[in-house]
């Protein structure tokens, strides 16, 4: 079993992805196996946080008191440099194709990935 690295979903300020040691498939949702070929123990690595915006949606109507305190917040899908797509938060003015880099920002009692336009 390869080392399981902690990421933002576990309270660490990191984005982790997995690469299959057999077929090279890259996946973002953590699993004990490769979803493409089934090989066990994909290699876990920390992502650079660099990527490109695939899509955005500015949430103006939230459903819980904790999230409502942050309205409006921008939900973004980012295609990361390592070849996986992830959901995160981003600056409100981000557009499709923008080159972005990740930091971490507080949201509803948690630190979540927050993308800003690359300088």
């Amino acid at each position: 079993m390869s080392e399981h690295l902690g990421d933002w979903t576990k309270g660490e300020q990191a984005i982790i992805y997995q690469t299959c040691t057999s077929c090279g498939h890259v996946q973002y949702f953590h699993r004990a196996f490769c979803a493409a070929c089934g090989t066990s123990d994909p290699l876990e690595q920390r992502a650079s946080g660099e990527g490109r915006v695939y899509a955005t949606s500015l949430v103006c109507r939230a459903a819980t008191p904790e999230t409502r305190a942050h309205v409006p917040y921008n939900i973004v899908l980012v295609d990361c440099a390592e070849g996986f797509r992830m959901m995160a938060h981003g600056e409100n003015n981000l557009g499709i194709g923008d080159e972005v880099t990740a930091s971490f920002a507080p949201f509803a009692g948690k630190l979540v990935p927050f993308f800003t336009r690359r300088k």
Binding site: T9, Y28, F29, H30, Y54, A55, T56, S57, L58, V59, C60, R61, A62, A63, T64, T67, H70, P72, Y73, I75, L77, R85, M86, M87, A88, H89, I96, F107, A108, K110, V112
Partner: protein, 378 residues
């Protein structure tokens, strides 16, 4: 062969004091009456889920409550695609001889039985529990992401999307059971409250109370028969983060399979009943299914193509966007309306020729798809 021998639909909107079982029972009784069948004739029950009253065995809860002892029963859960998925299963159960008359039923007091926040929160859980839900997305946000990317790719504008809301409202205005009867304009949609951009309040379906039911049978019980000609599914992902590229939509896969199963083409279709949880959902599905070219669906709405008197009448009851959305029963209303059209019972909404209908349902975030062709037989 299988036939849809009866349909039942309650008005959608507020049913103060009605439980999910009450609404299911009301719709089921209407479907039985329509089919001319008695409780004892029903030997199969398929039911949807209720977010207000979740139960691990809802089909048997309903069967006991309604007074049926079926030889086959269980619930089905595929989000918004559940109604057509149940119909597809009922078709196969009937064709293979497992059951003779399958009652397909769903109903939910989603509007008065829980708060809007609770509904939004319950539905947002289709997102990934670790990688999406903690970010505070809502169902409109998942579809907002899809809208943003689709509009960018095909040059679709927010005004284009608004056309679908206006059309569904115009249709709802002609149906007494619809939740909304006030006409709206593109300007009204554009000026409505932002929900998850680019989607605004009038781009989103409402939360409703209501119920719907059908009976799928091995033989016709009425003069005009509505036959399930064939159907197919496709499931490409669950979470929007894991959705395939814009070139590999599940709807395109399921419609290709349904066309192959039936030998029918889109040019054979005379009536369309298409899932419309959001304006973007309807725009994309019409284009994925081949009912309009890429980026061209809105122009067809403006040209009257999808109106009652147009070449391809669409959701003449008002769809989820304006008839209303009570969960699983919401998209079942599309089939009820198609059945009324095909059997010439749609009153002031009646279209010229609904001899062949195409139905399509979508669950999750364009995750699960069911395409189905219905054919009128005399």
């Amino acid at each position: 062969m299988s036939y849809i021998t009866g349909v039942g639909l309650t008005p959608f909107g507020r049913h103060e004091g009605s439980s999910s079982l009450d609404l299911m029972s009301k719709a089921a009784q209407a479907a039985l009456d329509d089919a001319g069948l008695k409780r004892a004739d029903i030997d199969g029950i398929l039911c949807g889920y209720s977010t207000v009253s979740p139960h691990i065995m809802l089909a048997t809860v309903f069967a006991e409550h309604f007074g049926i002892r079926p030889s086959y029963a269980h619930a089905v859960q595929v989000g918004g695609a559940t109604g057509l998925a149940m119909t597809m299963l009922a078709h196969h159960l009937v064709v293979s001889g497992v059951a003779r008359h399958v009652l397909v039923v769903a109903g939910e007091n989603r509007l008065t039985g829980q708060s809007r926040d609770a509904s939004i929160q319950a539905l947002a859980q289709v997102g990934h529990p670790d990688y999406e839900v903690p970010l505070g997305p809502t169902i409109p946000a998942y579809y907002g992401l899809i809208a943003n990317s689709y509009m960018h790719e095909y040059g679709v504008t927010e005004e284009d999307l608004a056309e679908f809301a206006v059309l569904m409202r115009a249709h709802a205005c002609t149906h007494p059971g619809a939740q909304f009867h006030d006409p709206i304009t593109v300007a009204d949609v554009m000026a409505s409250k932002p929900v998850a951009m680019p989607l605004k309040l009038l781009d989103c379906c409402p939360v409703s109370d209501g119920g719907a039911a059908f009976v799928i049978s091995c033989e016709r019980t009425g003069e005009t028969g509505v036959r399930i000609r064939g159907c197919a599914q496709a499931h490409t992902h669950q979470h929007v983060t894991a959705a395939p590229a814009l070139s590999e939509f599940g709807a395109e896969i399921s419609i290709a399979r349904a066309k192959e199963a039936t030998g029918l083409a889109i040019s054979d279709v005379r009536y369309a009943a298409i899932y419309d949880s959001f304006t973007i959902t309807l725009a994309m599905l019409l284009e994925d299914l081949g009912l309009a070219g890429r980026g061209e669906a809105a122009a067809r709405v403006r040209g009257g193509h999808f109106g009652r008197d147009g070449a391809m009448p669409l959701n003449t009851h008002g769809g989820l966007l304006s008839y209303g959305h009570c969960g699983v029963g919401g998209a079942m209303a599309h089939l009820v309306e198609a059945h009324l059209q095909m059997t010439g019972r749609a009153a002031n909404r009646q279209v010229r020729d609904a001899s062949i209908a195409l139905l399509h349902g979508d669950g999750g975030v364009l995750s699960s798809h069911v395409s189905m062709f219905l054919e009128r037989v005399r």
